[in-house]
């Protein structure tokens, strides 16, 4: 197979290339932009006018080299200051997969941007400078990948050319990272020795490191197995929108639309509607293209139910024997993104799946020192800090632990004075439940 050549323009439904979302974090000096530039360039995804633009701008600025960072740093301020400020999304495709890169800055003051990029990623690429070894920044990246439960971690030991492609350097860094990561929950970790500048083990296998018998990065991205990462066990269907045409033709039609957040739904399944607890069966699963016999994550579908129930946006349809927790109060890890700190007693709007309510901070259990992983007592979480928080909500949330489901376990907090998104939360567990169905 030739990686990276976008050919085959023949379009059919049966063409099954998967989507892999990955996040990269880093700053200019650790070679992140060079790596992305290299991935796009060697897989022939940079088009002629984009390359011309980068070459010309690099020359005009006197960079002295082709500055691939100019490809990804899109905002005027970023180009002026030579730093990545915000998350940029990049796209490329090989015959096997389509890739969405969330390219995020690496410095501590941009932790919120890193968390944003990580929230949807299937895989995280962490870069380590082979000369410098594991830095504070490396530890932060690995920690965030673990906190956001990115299922796969690809640690690229970069700048191997500057350490003479030495296997011992690679082995030592693998040991250091593995040793530190053992304290975190990381599901799958892969190490790849690369030189982004020279292209070693990025798209093509390096001849300079015969001692490395693993695949180059692109091959790993194309083949890492992501299918089992989604929760197919617990049926979760947050009702997003009710379709009621009220036309002569569809007078009695009532469909509940949403995106499947977990499990596999089939017509005939006995379901429970939370938080009310009414039971019924799925009559049919509709799509614009007709009825289907199974719906699974992340399909957007419309359910019809056998009984006429009062179901509306914010409700959740689960299998009757395996419902989500109806929580009035719960603990969560929160990454704080607001300029004004989070404090006990603070009130926010909360959005969880399709459900909105108000939340009050009952307590801050601890703050996490991202470098030492130690828990610190604190009475506030400032911008870019991460901590364990207990929240009470004005109407019950239908939650799962984030470790079980990244969709039904996540929420955002919104400052009602500014309308800004100020917090990203991951549910640990309910501390007070309501309704008919406490479990988990």
């Amino acid at each position: 197979m030739t990686p990276g050549v976008a050919t085959n323009g023949h379009a059919t439904r049966t063409q099954t290339s998967e989507l892999l979302r990955f996040a990269t974090a880093g700053s200019v000096d650790d070679g992140k932009s060079t790596l992305i530039g290299r991935l796009l360039f060697d897989s022939k995804q940079i088009l002629v006018d984009q390359l011309d633009h980068v070459v010309q701008t690099s020359e005009r600025r006197g960079d002295g080299y082709v500055n691939f960072a100019l490809l990804t740093d899109g905002l005027r301020a970023e180009r002026e200051q030579g730093i990545t400020i915000d998350v940029a999304y990049r796209y490329f495709q090989t015959p096997r997969r389509k890739f969405i890169i969330a390219d995020t800055p690496g410095h501590e003051q941009y932790t919120r941007n890193m968390v944003t990029g990580a929230s949807t990623a299937d895989l995280s690429v962490v870069l380590i400078d082979a000369r410098k070894g594991v830095s504070e920044q490396t530890r932060r990246h690995v920690y965030i990948a673990s906190l956001l439960r990115i299922p796969h971690l690809a640690v690229c030991i970069n700048k191997m050319d500057l350490v003479g492609y030495d296997e011992a350097v690679f082995d030592r860094l693998v040991y250091e990272v593995t040793d530190w990561a053992a304290r975190l929950e990381i599901l799958d970790i892969t190490f790849i020795p690369i030189s982004a500048l020279h292209g070693d083990n990025v798209v093509d296998r390096s001849s300079a490191m015969p001692w490395y018998d693993g695949p180059p990065l692109l091959y790993h991205l194309e083949h890492v197995c992501i299918a089992p990462d989604r929760n197919l066990a617990d049926v979760r269907f947050p009702v997003q929108w009710v379709i009621r045409p009220m036309t002569a033709e569809h007078h009695d039609y009532r469909g509940y639309s949403g995106q499947v957040a977990g499990g596999i739904l089939r017509p005939g399944d006995e379901v429970v509607v939370l938080p009310g607890g009414q039971r019924t069966r799925i009559a049919a699963i509709d799509t614009y293209d007709g009825e289907i016999d199974a719906a699974f994550p992340t399909m957007s579908v419309t359910l019809r139910l056998e009984d006429d129930l009062d179901v509306s946006r914010g409700d959740m349809i689960c299998l009757a024997d395996d419902p989500a927790v109806v929580a009035r109060e719960f603990e969560a890890n929160v990454c704080w993104m607001g300029e004004r700190p989070l404090m006990p007693g603070s009130r926010y709007a909360i959005k969880h799946t399709t459900r909105s309510a108000r939340a009050v901070v009952e307590a801050i259990e601890h703050r996490i020192d991202v470098n030492t992983l130690e828990h610190e007592h604190t009475d506030q979480l400032a911008l870019n800090q991460i901590g364990r928080v207990r929240l009470r909500v004005s109407s019950p949330m239908l939650v799962d632990p984030y470790s079980r489901n990244r969709t039904t376990g996540s929420f955002i907090l919104i400052d009602e004075a500014t309308n800004d998104t100020v917090g990203a939360g991951m549910v640990v567990g309910a501390t007070s439940v309501a309704g008919p169905t406490p479990s988990a």
């Binding site: 976008a6 323009g9 023949h10 379009a11 439904r13 063409q15 290339s17 998967e18 989507l19 088009l47 002629v48 006018d49 984009q50 633009h53 701008t57 490809l71 990804t72 899109g74 905002l75 180009r79 915000d86 940029a88 999304y89 990049r90 796209y91 495709q93 389509k98 919120r112 944003t116 929230s119 949807t120 992501i226 299918a227 997003q240 929108w241 379709i243 045409p245 009220m246 036309t247 039609y253 639309s257 949403g258 995106q259 596999i264 799509t287 614009y288 199974a294 699974f296 992340t298 399909m299 957007s300 959005k351 969880h352 399709t354 990244r406 969709t407 996540s410 955002i412 919104i414 309308n419």
Partner: protein, 301 residues
Amino acid sequence: MSYELPHLEALEAESIHIFREVAAELERPVLLFSGGKDSIVLLRLAEKAFRPAGFPFPIMHVDTGHNFPEVIEFRDRRIAELGERLIVSHVQDSIDTGRAVEETGPRASRNRLQTVTLLDAIEEHGFDAAFGGARRDEERARAKERVFSFRDDFGQWDPKRQRPELWSLYNGAVNRGEHVRVFPISNWTELDVWRYIAIENLEVPSIYFAHRRPVFERDGMLYAHSPHVELIDDERPFELSVRYRTVGDMTCTGAVRSEASTLETVVAEIAATRITERGETRADDRVTEAAMEDRKREGYF
């Protein structure tokens, strides 16, 4: 059976989710339709999100008066087929009432004036959300833009004050006078759009396919010879087989040499191209290095 969605179906599901979130959370959305391929895909996605009911929002076209006639004809036919409501806002009206000033000279374009007409229409109708067909792969500034992109009460985008956008949890909270631009196909590429058009067998305006047309060359691009553009110096129109990769104003949209006359050959051409769509066909991005960022800050699409 595999429970993994192929990438185009995953993108489709994400876009449908975005449509429904906006319909549920905002009071007065509108779908901005240009007649181009991206907004044609938006219409199909809206059908997928809301049928068998009607769309819970109207469709709006900002008509510069310099559009390709084929596109206007297509627009009216397509919206009628859908049975949905169309609002047309005319840049000419903004000029007539003195809200916008026509540019003059051979390089005059109404591209920038559209922003005035668009923002006035949003204010007049009280829209608090406007769907657009922009994609992040199109342009550097767009690569940094959120799916829900907040605009203040002057319609301005501030790239430094964007709301973090996590998981699939979108924050559509706005105060009166403010609005969000929403881009349901942010994560699609040009090739995804064409593949989807082919799979769904969607009709697109005829100018997307190869046709013979009088064109002239300027700054290395091929423009349609039309009453809306003055020729300069020794520019001479000549006939050529061309097609359009993007549909904008006749004054700033370039054609590409092409013999591709079917969806399948167009998809093959896009898959093999070595130049980006905006680089090949849009004069409006060539003004400065941050031309798009600057126009977006003013409230452009």
